[in-house]
């Protein structure tokens, strides 16, 4: 089990290789950072807490409205996109994408990574 963290790091490293991905992190559903690949690690912890809150709030909102659990939350701004997706009951995955890459491949890879992360944390 001690090696799980290394496997998670591998999943993140693969995700980071996708074109356009600037940073990514695995976060527990309740906002604790599991692992992150990002330039400024200092902010990784708060970044993790915010992402979990965002996804949690979105899930509460849509399920209350009987629309089921959202597949992902995409936040768009002029300088980039932030995408958060659930990875099983315990964790979620967040990626930061630059503003000019198409999201198709990113979303596909994100889904795969989320599935792997889910398996690792079972």
């Amino acid at each position: 089990m001690a090696d799980t963290i290394e496997l998670i790091e591998k999943v993140l490293a693969d995700m980071k290789k996708v074109r356009g991905v600037e940073a990514c992190a695995a976060v527990s559903r309740d906002g604790l950072l599991i692992s992150a690949i990002m330039q400024n690690k200092r902010f990784a912890e708060s970044f993790a807490a915010m992402s979990a809150t965002m996804l949690g709030a979105a899930e509460t909102a849509t399920t209350e409205l009987n629309k089921g659990v959202p597949d992902r939350v995409i936040v768009e701004s002029k300088r980039g996109r932030l995408i958060t997706a659930g990875a099983g009951p315990k964790a979620l995955i967040v990626v930061l994408v630059d503003s000019n890459t198409g999201l198709g491949l990113v979303l596909l890879e994100l889904e795969k990574s989320a599935e792997k992360l889910k398996e690792l944390l079972l």
Binding site: S28, D30, A49, A57
Partner: protein
């Protein structure tokens, strides 16, 4: 009087390591454990003691570099820090140190140098950088016999002798001897993967000069900074307008909040570095419409601050309800009677009565807006989380 320099560990060991005692850091492979020995020797030096480091897995130059990495300047202690070089001759480089083991794979040679050192040095903290390396080179049985005699001689000459030992798969017998018999104290250093917290911990397996306290602590290694106790989550909750965000900001070295129209709508997040502790603080919203978020972020908390506005007892019912929402019962929690600077603020004792909680629940006075009582409260909660001494 020698201290390990590891936060909380000294308290658990009864204050310090008495002269003449031996201690081993029993380290699981893959864990950053070797810093424990380094931190202990550095602590000795800054408390004006003498230190000896036996470098067996890296050269003394690399060890000096490691001290620098942790932000520990050992230059001023040149005269008080001695190295035994048991590495350079392995790679065929001449040693510049006062003591050098020329045949590190020969226990006789090792013995000769170490015993000479133990007899010649003033009472010192003697740290073996890696006992496992010596064992790999000289053999398990041989090394154990040598350690037995080193410990005895160290006792006679009033040294404190400390070993880093990485618990590779040696024979059961060897590991057993190390864990139970050879040393006066055994500190286990390991890794955990519990739920989603991947961390490193240490705990006391044995210490024959003090009552044993079974308690494990999470830690992280900082460069610079060394070992700090790590508390992944402390939750700050309480009713609307109690001063939760203000408290998070006044306690934290850095903090951010998601607030709109003057109230927290998602979360406050702060990071505290204080007296050897590193903690992340999560502040919840207060209003009932945000209850799902409160539930979400209070998972896996290690301790809870319940902040209340001392001038507003009407909200205490809601406060008590929030203890339920955050599942605080069973976790270490304390109540903070905030806004003590305002006229009409109730005293902590009065608040305790109104709450009607068990006697051991502590209510502490704070004024988050000017930081009064904030760090005291943090220390009290930390004590509760780490088992208090």
């Amino acid at each position: 009087m020698v201290k390990t320099g590891v936060p909380r560990l000294d308290d658990l060991l009864g204050g310090d390591i008495p002269k003449g005692k031996s201690l081993v850091y029993y380290i699981q492979p893959g864990v950053e454990g070797e810093i424990f020995g380094l931190q202990t020797i550095y602590t000795t030096l800054i408390k004006s003691g003498n230190g000896v480091f036996i470098a067996s897995s890296t050269s003394p130059a690399v060890v000096r570099e490691q001290f620098r990495e942790f932000g520990w300047n050992v230059e001023p202690f040149k005269k008080k820090l001695t190295f035994v070089d048991a590495y350079n001759s392995l790679i065929g480089v001449p040693s510049e140190e006062k003591y050098a083991v020329l045949k590190p794979d020969n226990i006789e040679n090792f013995n000769e140098i170490i015993i000479k050192l133990l007899q010649e040095s003033p009472p010192s903290t003697i740290v073996f950088g890696s006992l496992s390396t010596i064992m790999d080179l000289c053999g398990e049985k041989e090394t154990i016999e040598a350690v037995r005699s080193w410990n005895k001689i160290a006792m006679l000459y009033d040294h404190v002798i400390v070993y880093n030992f990485t618990a590779w798969p040696y024979s059961e017998e060897t590991l057993d001897l190390i864990k139970n018999e050879l040393f006066n104290a055994v500190i286990s250093v390991g890794g955990i993967a519990e739920r989603v917290i991947f961390g490193q911990y240490f705990g006391i397996l044995k210490a024959d000069w003090t009552e044993k306290i079974r308690k494990s602590m999470l830690f992280r290694v900082f460069r610079p900074g060394g070992i700090k106790l790590f508390i992944p989550k402390i939750v700050v909750t309480g009713p609307f307008n109690a001063g939760k965000s203000t408290f998070v900001h006044s306690l934290s070295n850095r903090a951010i909040s998601v607030d709109r129209l003057g109230t927290t709508i998602a979360i406050d997040h702060g990071h505290v570095d204080y007296k050897g502790f590193s903690a992340d603080i999560f502040g919840t919203p207060g209003q009932e419409r945000f209850d799902p978020i409160i539930k979400l972020i209070s998972g896996e908390a290690m301790g809870i601050f319940l902040v209340v506005d001392s001038t507003n007892p009407e909200d205490f019912v809601r406060a008590k309800q929030m203890l339920k929402i955050t599942k605080s019962y069973g976790l270490p929690f304390i109540i903070l009677a905030n806004k003590q600077d305002l006229p009409g603020a109730l005293k902590p004792e009065e608040i305790k009565k109104l709450f009607n909680l068990p006697d051991d629940v502590q209510v502490l006075p704070v004024t988050a807006s000017n930081k009064t009582g904030v760090y005291e409260a943090f220390e009290v909660l930390i004590d509760k989380i780490t088992g208090g001494i």
